[in-house]
C-alpha cells in the first residue's frame, strides 16, 4: 500500500445524503458518531460540504426527484470518492422497489463501493461495513 492510499484510508471524511428515507437509517448513521461507537478513532469526520468529502453515505429510497439531486451531488464531489449504500432501501429498494415513483436502487444511478443492508442496519453493522471498505 502506497503512502497516498494509506493517508486516504486513514482520513475518510463523510458526507450524508438522505433520500426519501424514513429516518431510521439517518439516526443509526448519527449513532456511529456518538461516544458509544465513535468513528473518529478511525479518522472519520462528518463534513458540511460535499467538496471536502471522501465517502458519500446514501440511504433511503431514491425517487424520481432525488435522482437528479443525487447525480448533482456526486458530480460536485471531488474525486476519488467512495459511495456507500446504507439500508435495504439504498441497497435494493426494499419495500419501495415496485413503487411508482421509485427511480432505481443507488447502484443504478452512481457506482457503489459498499453495501450495508438492514432495515435499519445496526451501528455495529455500519462499522463492520466501514472496516470492510478500509480493507478493500
Amino acid at each position: 500500500m502506497g503512502f497516498k492510499e494509506f493517508c486516504f484510508k486513514k482520513s475518510l471524511w463523510l458526507f450524508h445524503f438522505g433520500g426519501a428515507s424514513c429516518n431510521n437509517c439517518d439516526i443509526e448513521i448519527l449513532d456511529c458518531l456518538t461516544p458509544r461507537y465513535d468513528v473518529e478513532r478511525f479518522g472519520m469526520l462528518l463534513v458540511g460540504s460535499v467538496r471536502h468529502a471522501d465517502v458519500l453515505l446514501v440511504n433511503g429510497s431514491i425517487n424520481k426527484r432525488d435522482k437528479s439531486r443525487l447525480l448533482e451531488i456526486y458530480e460536485q464531489a471531488s474525486k476519488p470518492i467512495l459511495v456507500v449504500a446504507i439500508g435495504a432501501c439504498g441497497c435494493t429498494g426494499g419495500i419501495f422497489a415496485e413503487g411508482d415513483t421509485f427511480a432505481g436502487p443507488v447502484d443504478k444511478i452512481i457506482p457503489v463501493d459498499a453495501y450495508i443492508p438492514g432495515c435499519p442496519p445496526k451501528p455495529e453493522a455500519i462499522l463492520a461495513g466501514v472496516v470492510k471498505l478500509l480493507n478493500k
Binding site: 503512502f3 497516498k4 492510499e5 494509506f6 493517508c7 486516504f8 486513514k10 482520513s11 461516544p35 465513535d38 473518529e40 478513532r41 479518522g43 463534513v47 458540511g48 460540504s49 467538496r51 471536502h52 471522501d54 460536485q76 471531488s78 474525486k79 476519488p80
Partner: protein
C-alpha cells in the same frame, strides 16, 4: 539571504510551526473526544488529513467565480501565517531579538489569513460562502479593536516599548504581566480574541458547518483546502505562543524550563479547547456586541488599573 530563507521556511517559520501546530491540533481533537467520553483520533491524524487533501483529492474550480483569486488566496494565507510566525517565534525562542516596532507588524500580519479567507470566499461565487465572508468581516471589525487595546495595555505595562523582545525581557526581569489584577483581565480578554481569530466554537459563525455548510470554506477542495488546513495549524501554534510572550513571560529552553514552556502552551490550548467544548455558537450580532461593549470595557478597565499600578 540563505539565513532569512532558513528562518522563513524551516526553523521558526513554515515547517516547524506547522508540525507543532499539527500536533496541537491533534491535542485539541483528543481533548474534545475526552470531554465527550470518546476515544479520539490517532496521533498523526492531522498529517493524514493534510497529505490526503494535498496528494489524493482533486481540485475543483468554481464555474462562476474568479479562478485566479480563488487559488491565490490560500497561498497568501499560508505566507501571512508563516511570516507572522517568524516574527513572533524569533524573539520568543531567543534566536534573534527582532527590531523596534515589530509588535505593530505582527499585529497587522496576523490579520492576513482572515482577510484572505474573505477574499477567497467572495471569489468563489457561492452564496453561502458570501454569507460566511460577510460574517468573518464583521467578526474582524469587532475583535481587532479589542486586540489592539490589549496590546496598548501591554505596551503601557512594559514602559512604552513597542519591541516584542523588550517586552519579554521586561517580564523576565520583573515577573510576568499576568501576575496582577490588570494582567489577569488582559489574559481573559486576549483568550477570547484568540478564540475569535481562530474561529473556534463560540465565534465559528463564518464556517458554521451545520448552518451554512462550512461557509467560507465551502468551495475549497484538494490542494487549496490543504493549504488552508496548513494555515490553521500554524495559527493554532503561533497565537497561543504570542499570548504567552505578551503576558506570561515568554518561553525558556534551558534545562528543566523546557517542560515548563511546553506546559504553558498546552495550558493555553487546553483553555481554548474547553471554551470551545462548553459553549454554543453565538449569533454574529451577539458576538459583535460581546466584543464592542463588554470586552472593550474590560480592556479599558485593565488599562486604567495598570496606569495606577495594580
Amino acid at each position: 539571504m540563505a539565513e532569512q530563507l532558513f528562518y522563513f521556511l524551516i526553523y521558526p517559520g513554515l515547517l516547524f510551526a506547522a508540525v507543532i501546530g499539527a500536533f496541537l491540533s491533534w491535542y485539541d481533537r483528543k481533548i474534545t473526544a475526552w470531554v465527550q467520553f470518546r476515544k479520539g483520533p490517532p496521533l498523526f491524524q492531522p498529517f493524514y488529513d493534510f497529505f490526503k487533501l494535498l496528494l489524493v483529492k482533486e481540485t475543483i474550480l468554481p464555474k462562476y467565480g474568479s479562478k485566479g483569486v480563488f487559488l491565490l488566496a490560500p497561498i497568501f494565507a499560508v505566507f501571512g501565517a508563516a511570516i507572522s510566525g517568524v516574527f513572533i517565534l524569533l524573539p520568543l525562542l531567543g534566536i534573534q531579538s527582532g527590531f523596534q516596532g515589530d509588535l505593530i507588524v505582527i499585529f497587522y500580519l496576523l490579520t492576513i489569513p482572515s482577510l484572505t479567507y474573505i477574499i477567497g470566499a467572495l471569489a468563489s461565487g457561492n452564496p453561502l460562502a458570501a454569507v460566511g465572508g460577510s460574517r468573518e468581516m464583521k467578526l474582524i471589525l469587532s475583535y481587532e479593536l479589542t486586540f489592539l487595546l490589549v496590546i496598548v495595555a501591554i505596551i503601557q505595562k512594559a514602559g512604552l516599548t513597542i519591541s516584542f523582545s523588550d517586552i519579554i525581557a521586561e517580564q523576565n526581569l520583573n515577573g510576568a504581566f499576568a501576575g496582577n489584577i490588570s494582567g489577569i483581565i488582559l489574559f481573559i480578554v486576549a483568550i477570547f480574541c484568540i478564540q475569535a481569530k481562530l474561529a473556534l466554537v463560540p465565534f465559528d459563525m463564518p464556517e458554521a458547518e451545520t448552518e451554512i455548510a462550512s461557509g467560507i470554506m465551502i468551495e475549497y477542495s484538494g490542494t487549496p483546502y490543504a493549504l488552508i488546513k496548513l494555515t490553521k495549524y500554524i495559527m493554532f501554534f503561533i497565537l497561543p505562543a504570542f499570548l504567552i510572550g505578551l503576558l506570561w513571560s515568554g518561553l525558556n529552553f534551558q534545562g528543566i524550563n523546557i517542560l515548563w514552556s511546553i506546559l504553558k502552551i498546552l495550558f493555553v490550548v487546553l483553555l481554548l479547547t474547553l471554551i470551545r467544548n462548553t459553549n454554543p455558537r453565538v449569533k454574529i450580532k451577539q458576538a459583535v456586541r460581546y466584543f464592542v461593549i463588554w470586552m472593550n470595557l474590560l480592556a479599558i478597565i485593565a488599562i486604567v488599573l495598570s496606569y495606577f499600578g495594580y
